[in-house]
């Protein structure tokens, strides 16, 4: 384990049971996260990308211990959350927060913005009396909203403003670590940039550490120091954000990159294209060997039998592929 890691995930496994019949007999498992390891250094942003259903959200929620994890360890500030429960876990959780994709669904429509933001302060008993209102004003200003907006309800805000309220609520308890789960995916393009810029400013000012989940590779790379690429519950590659574009080594990473057009026709025309065929297989029955092998353009015999390990190939570049 690294000394400078704020979060350290070791062989994380999260299976969801698939049940059938009246007795809700367990007939199979959704292998949402299937042996994932990485670390996030203090002050760093690690991006997590991959296609729908590959296990990004589940990974984030496991770190926050919103699930009882199937196997593996999650260290936060050196303490293993996997073994924690009850009061101890609750007090650790205050230092870790979640920002959701859908600002609509995550805010209680019957509460005012002020109460939504202030609720965690009350739950954790962090302020008294006058201070409460001051803190809410302060938090609203922090996310570039006006204190007078505290009395309004969620439906009176635009999508971008609602996401700012979600961010303010996450910041209320002064966390060290925030899992941002697709925080801009549901927003207008121009508003996306506003929120990304805000998240980056807050990271500097409040010395935050992020796990930034999204499927938009350009957005993830922009905000992250390093990027981890997931496919069907596995990590395929982790590398420095600049290295990701300049030197992707896993074939899936290469395909994913090439599927993202660059908003400049002259540059985009010159790029190599790798077109994948087929769909992502079901995580109930992932392919044997390398999970990516049925769609891989580099596949060789061993890929179908043996699972490639995530190994360090120098610097901070990790890759899981028999051919890398």
């Amino acid at each position: 384990m690294r000394d400078d890691a704020l979060v350290n995930v070791e062989n994380l496994v999260m299976y969801f049971p698939v049940t059938a019949g009246l007795m809700r007999r367990r007939v199979a498992d959704v292998k949402a996260v299937d042996g994932v390891s990485f670390y996030v250094r203090k002050g760093e942003t690690l991006g997590l990308v991959g296609e729908s259903g590959c296990g990004k959200t589940t990974t984030g929620r496991c770190i926050l211990r919103l699930y009882k994890i199937t196997a593996g360890n999650v260290y936060f500030k050196g303490k293993n959350l996997a073994e924690m429960g009850g009061k101890e876990l609750r007090s650790m959780r205050r230092h870790m927060q979640l920002i959701f994709q859908d600002p609509y669904a995550s805010l209680d429509p019957r509460m005012t913005a002020g109460d939504i933001i202030g609720e965690p302060l009350q739950v954790h008993n962090l302020v008294q009396g006058r201070e409460y209102q001051e803190q809410i004003d302060e938090l609203l200003r922090l996310v570039e909203l006006e204190p007078r907006m505290a009395v309004r309800y969620p439906h009176e805000f635009s999508g971008g403003q609602r996401q700012r309220i979600g961010i303010a609520r996450a910041l209320a308890v002064r966390p060290d670590f925030i899992v941002c789960d697709e925080p801009v995916s549901a927003l207008d393009v121009s508003i996306q940039t506003q929120v990304i810029t805000l998240l980056m400013r807050l990271r500097e000012e409040l010395k935050l550490t992020y796990l930034f989940i999204a499927h938009d590779l350009s957005v993830v790379r922009h905000i992250s120091d390093r990027v981890a690429v997931m496919y069907l519950g596995k990590i395929m590659e982790i590398t420095d954000s600049d290295e990701l574009y300049d030197n992707p080594l896993n074939p899936y990473t290469q395909a994913l990159l090439s599927a993202v057009p660059i908003p400049d026709p002259v540059v985009d025309r010159q790029r190599k294209r790798i077109l994948l065929t087929g769909d992502v297989p079901s995580p109930i029955n992932p392919p044997s060997g390398c999970h990516f092998n049925p769609r891989c353009h580099m596949v060789i015999d061993i890929c179908k039998e043996e699972e490639p390990e995530l190994r360090n190939i120098g610097g901070e570049h990790w890759v899981a592929c028999h051919r890398a």
Partner: protein
């Protein structure tokens, strides 16, 4: 939706203008004629495949029905053609899959069924409305390649409606940039990206992160909120968010002006806004 005359009335009405398709104004033809155009000449791929496929019919039957209606095939021929279409759109094991219901298809495969539905009438115009947001990046790329192939193979005209600038750069020949229901700028794709002349277009291009540029690059932020269509400001609809707005912009609506070959922009200052880099620094 207006082109297809699919805007429900009430509440939506098309207030004015003309929609010319093959020389005829679609707003003036009868309901029966428009139905014919809709079915057999213009097809639309909607955002959500689940809402536009019939959940209780097998995929094959849905396709066959459309083929019988629009191409006048008999039941047998329509069934065979349906499977062929599913093959064209890249559904593996099409003959067997065709017997399934929409919910048995993954999101990406449903999109392809939608494509097959759209193709069942040999459309001359295909309107793809953000065909891809609910699908995966790599599946989305497959789909757009498919649309692109159809375009070059069968000469189908395509209108791609999207907010993804990368998609625009990769797949379209000409761009219309819309804001608050109005056309802000229109021109050949290369010109729009190399020399955008409208502050909204310029801002959009400068605001999106790019994989190929240094990661630490500062993104341009278009301040303010998206337009409220029920309460549009006087003058240029973009003026409240525009960094170049003058007094005139708050009073008068700018018309589209020619700024280059086949390139038009609706902004009083387009003439001055030649070099986008100079522009951004000016702030």
């Amino acid at each position: 939706m207006s082109i297809m005359r699919l805007i429900p009335y009430p509440p939506g009405i098309i207030v004015g203008g003309e929609i010319i398709f093959k020389g005829r104004d679609l707003l003036k033809v009868t309901e029966e004629e428009i139905r014919h155009v809709r079915g057999s000449q213009i097809a639309m791929i909607f955002q959500e495949p689940t809402t536009s496929l019939n959940p209780v019919l097998t995929v094959k039957l849905q396709l066959a029905e459309s083929l019988m209606l629009h191409r006048g095939l008999d039941k047998q021929a329509a069934g065979e053609e349906a499977v062929k279409l599913l093959e064209i759109v890249g559904i593996p094991d099409a003959a067997r899959k065709a017997e399934g219901y929409p919910h048995q298809f993954s999101g990406g495969m449903q999109q392809r069924v939608m494509m097959a539905m759209a193709l069942s009438c040999n459309p001359e115009l295909l309107i793809a409305d953000e065909p891809t947001t609910s699908v995966d990046v790599t599946v989305q790329a497959q789909l757009l390649e498919l649309i692109d192939n159809l375009r070059s193979q069968f000469g189908t005209a395509v209108i791609l409606i999207t907010h993804n600038l990368g998609m625009v750069a990769r797949y379209v020949d000409r761009v219309n940039v819309m804001y608050a229901g109005r056309l802000m700028e229109t021109g050949p794709t290369d010109a729009i990206f190399a020399e955008p002349r409208h502050p909204y277009t310029i801002g959009l291009i400068a605001s999106v992160p790019r994989l190929d540029l240094p990661r630490k690059r500062k993104l341009f932020v278009i301040e303010g909120l998206p337009p409220n269509l029920a309460r549009l400001p006087q003058g240029c609809p973009f003026h409240p968010r525009c960094v170049y707005a003058l007094d005139r912009c708050r009073q008068e609506k700018p018309e589209l002006l020619e700024v280059g070959k086949n390139h038009y922009s609706a902004c009083f200052r387009s003439g001055e806004l030649g070099d986008k880099r100079g522009l951004m620094d000016e702030r």
